[in-house]
């Protein structure tokens, strides 16, 4: 390719650790199940709204009389049943000595890399459904954005507290080092 040439290119290119070669750890086994339940809940919500409108106004009878309506309605259900497994499989993270990487996306593969010494703070969250499955989400914040720069879902309590303390420890060490200099 059209590379820029500078002297130690070769050495650096081979010498630097490569993110592209990383092995990613998967998330919790029951992650797909939580996504599935979440999806079914939203599906249920739409069904309820739909049937309420139908019972009170009767306007939707037109749709119910056509076969294609059922086809259109079946597509989201099909997605809800299949996507969670694909999503859960596509996500994962990798820890290195000095940074953390998170990959996601079924169609658009995305990898976020975040060095420990840029972490501003770490949050651990757990929604009602997550609590039921004993899972948590770890969110990492840098100065790069107002929202979380990386959020790693579906970590068991034990795993997330281990990760959190690891991150906080490393973020703290590097950060205070930079200040004290």
């Amino acid at each position: 390719m059209n590379e820029i040439t500078f002297e130690n290119e070769q050495v650096e290119a081979t010498g630097l650790p490569k993110v592209a070669d990383l092995e990613f750890e998967g998330l919790a086994d029951n992650y797909a199940r939580t996504l599935l339940i979440e999806g079914l809940f939203s599906w249920l919500f739409f069904i309820i709204v739909f049937s309420t409108i139908q019972t009170f106004t009767g306007k939707i009878g037109f749709f119910l009389a056509h076969w294609w309506f059922y086809l259109v309605a079946a597509i989201p259900l099909l997605l809800i049943l299949t996507l969670p497994f694909l999503i859960a499989n596509s996500r994962g993270f990798a820890l290195r000595e000095k940074d953390i990487h998170y990959k996601s996306g079924i169609v658009w593969h995305k990898t976020v890399s975040l060095p420990f010494n840029r972490i501003q703070h770490v949050e651990v969250e757990s929604g009602p459904l997550e609590r039921f499955f004993k899972l948590t989400t770890v969110k990492l914040f840098t100065a790069g954005g107002a929202r979380a720069d990386m959020s790693i879902p579906a970590l068991t309590f034990e795993r997330s507290s281990r990760l959190r303390s690891h991150l906080v420890e490393h973020a703290g060490v590097v950060e205070s080092g930079a200040h004290d200099e």
């Binding site: 590379e3 820029i4 500078f6 630097l16 890399s113 840029r118 840098t142 100065a143």
Partner: protein
């Protein structure tokens, strides 16, 4: 010794100069206009309801308000006291509600001095202290003698820069430079009025002004109606006995007149805001002073700089000038969200040789002009056409074909052709290069912008690939800095990986603070 004296002298409660009352009056009036506009509504009621005596009542209310204003300003002046201790600025203020504030020197980001017209005869300035905390902690001292303010500023900012902070100027060259450069002011740039006019003409924001102007026009509805009516009549009288070309000519002339008026306004605005623009460097600090009616001074610590941007809009391209934007950071209280505050730190109308010299000053080891910029993949054009432009064009195509028939239906399909030309141009404008420690990214359409940043300032790196991009071995690279995001689309995958690995290596090994 003299520094210790200065500290002692400042370390006691003191008032602003009496002229500060003027500053308080203006501040109160501005706040009333901004926040309590609806408070004036009763006046309208009085006007409508009071009958013949309305004017005397309004006059009395007016006198009352003015008296209140004067008393308020006077009390604010009396109750406002400040004190500079060894390591913090202490403020006491508030008439009804007392407020005490102490701002540690280490939390102070920047001190801006401005010299409004009404303070100029007395040699007083307004000192604005920006803190790293929330905006409620920002402090304004209106009415401080200039020399005194400068003393305070140098005291605070010297405290701010620890002994070995020259490290943060990221170069080995700085060590040799340091001894002679740190203590004397170096003048880098002074803009004559001609340059300011150039800036006014090439500044993109005149078109924003045009938008605001149109918006303001629509506010004055009855005035607007009258205006448009008269314009309409004008056209009618012309069109009534004139052929179409003359009508078009008039229209054309009108547009030219409006545009040149806008350009004139913009040029005058540029002169007012940037009059006597001076850029200088003192140690690790860049310093700007400018302004015709209100002289503004602001400074920026070079180590806090996140990225530089050289912008060249198409009119600026014709005049061969660049506008330099320096991006800083400042934090909200939570510490997580960074917002841009350095947007006002801009160097207008710089020439090409200044650009190279200036970037060599900030990033001494980065000779970006000698690097060859890599192009992004051509897939950028085709993917955008196929996935965005074509689907959007197909909607009106089907609609029009259905209603009007085929030949008309094909008209929206012209859009992809035009889009192709635009996308091709955008594609050609993209470019990127690195020396392993810094990156440069070029982008644009008619004009262009060059973004320079050292790798160690980066916060996070994202690499994204769609299936098509995977097949073509390209990826989108997203680089997040504190306050801005840099995107390189459709970059060769090995380049994207290399950039990511190098950025992470720099961030993790470079001992310099990114803040």
């Amino acid at each position: 010794m003299s520094k210790a004296n200065a500290v002692n002298r400042m370390d006691q409660w003191q008032r602003l100069k009496p002229q500060a009352i003027v500053h308080f009056i203006i501040k109160i009036v501005m706040r009333a206009i901004k926040e309590a506009m609806q408070g004036f509504l009763p006046l309208i009621v009085v006007y409508a309801a009071a009958g013949e005596r309305r004017w005397s009542i309004i006059a009395m209310i007016g006198i009352g308000l003015v008296a209140l204003l004067l008393i308020g300003a006077f009390l604010s002046y009396l109750k406002f006291r400040f004190r500079i201790s060894k390591d913090s600025v202490l403020i006491q203020s508030g008439v009804l509600k007392r407020k005490r504030l102490s701002l540690g020197f280490d939390k102070i980001q920047n001190i801006e001095l401005s010299e409004p017209l009404y303070f100029r005869p007395f040699g007083l300035v307004v000192m604005q202290i920006e803190s790293a905390g929330s905006s409620s902690e920002e402090v304004t001292l209106g009415g401080v003698p200039r020399t005194y303010a400068e003393e305070i500023r140098s005291l605070v900012l010297q405290h701010k820069v620890p002994q070995n902070d020259h490290l943060s100027i990221e170069s080995n060259e700085s060590e040799t430079n340091q001894s002679d450069a740190s203590n004397q002011q170096q003048h880098l740039l002074h803009l004559p009025i001609g340059e300011l006019i150039r800036f006014g003409l090439t500044n993109n924001s005149i078109w924003i002004f045009a938008g605001i102007g149109a918006g303001a026009m629509s506010q004055f509805e009855w005035g607007g109606v009258y205006y448009f009516k008269s314009v309409g009549e004008l056209f009618e009288t012309i069109a009534g006995n004139s052929p179409v070309p003359i009508l078009l000519l008039t229209l054309f002339g009108l547009i030219i007149a409006v545009v040149s008026l806008l350009l004139l306004v913009s040029a005058i605005g540029a002169i007012i805001i940037h009059y006597d623009f001076k850029l200088s460097q003192l140690g690790t600090r860049l310093h700007i002073s400018k302004g015709l009616f209100e002289k503004k001074e602001s400074s920026l610590l070079i180590p806090k700089l996140q990225s530089i941007q050289f912008k060249q809009s198409w009119p600026a391209k014709i005049l061969k000038r660049y506008h330099v934007h320096l991006t800083q950071i400042s934090f909200s209280k939570s510490g997580a969200a960074a917002r841009k505050s350095g947007s006002n730190f801009m160097i207008p109308s710089a020439k090409a040789d200044f650009i190279t010299e200036f970037s060599a000053r900030l990033y001494p080891n980065f000779d970006w002009w000698s690097l060859k910029l890599n192009a992004i993949s051509r897939l950028f054009v085709w993917k955008n056409l196929l996935w965005f432009v074509l689907p959007i064009a197909l909607i009106p195509t089907t609609f029009i074909t259905y209603h009007l028939g085929l030949p008309y239906g094909l008209i929206p399909l012209m859009a992809p052709l035009i889009a192709y030309v635009i996308l091709r141009r955008v594609h050609l404008m993209y470019g990127y290069a690195t020396d392993g420690k810094h990156g440069i990214v070029k982008s644009g359409f008619l004009g262009h912008s060059l973004k320079l940043f050292p790798f160690y300032k980066v916060q996070t790196v994202h690499v994204t690939q769609s299936p098509g991009q995977r097949r073509a071995m390209v990826a989108n690279l997203n680089i997040k800095l504190a306050g801005s995001t840099i995107t390189i689309p459709f970059m060769a995958i090995e380049d994207a990986n290399q950039w990511r690995d190098k950025i992470l290596f720099e961030v993790e090994t470079n001992k310099l603070s990114w803040m």
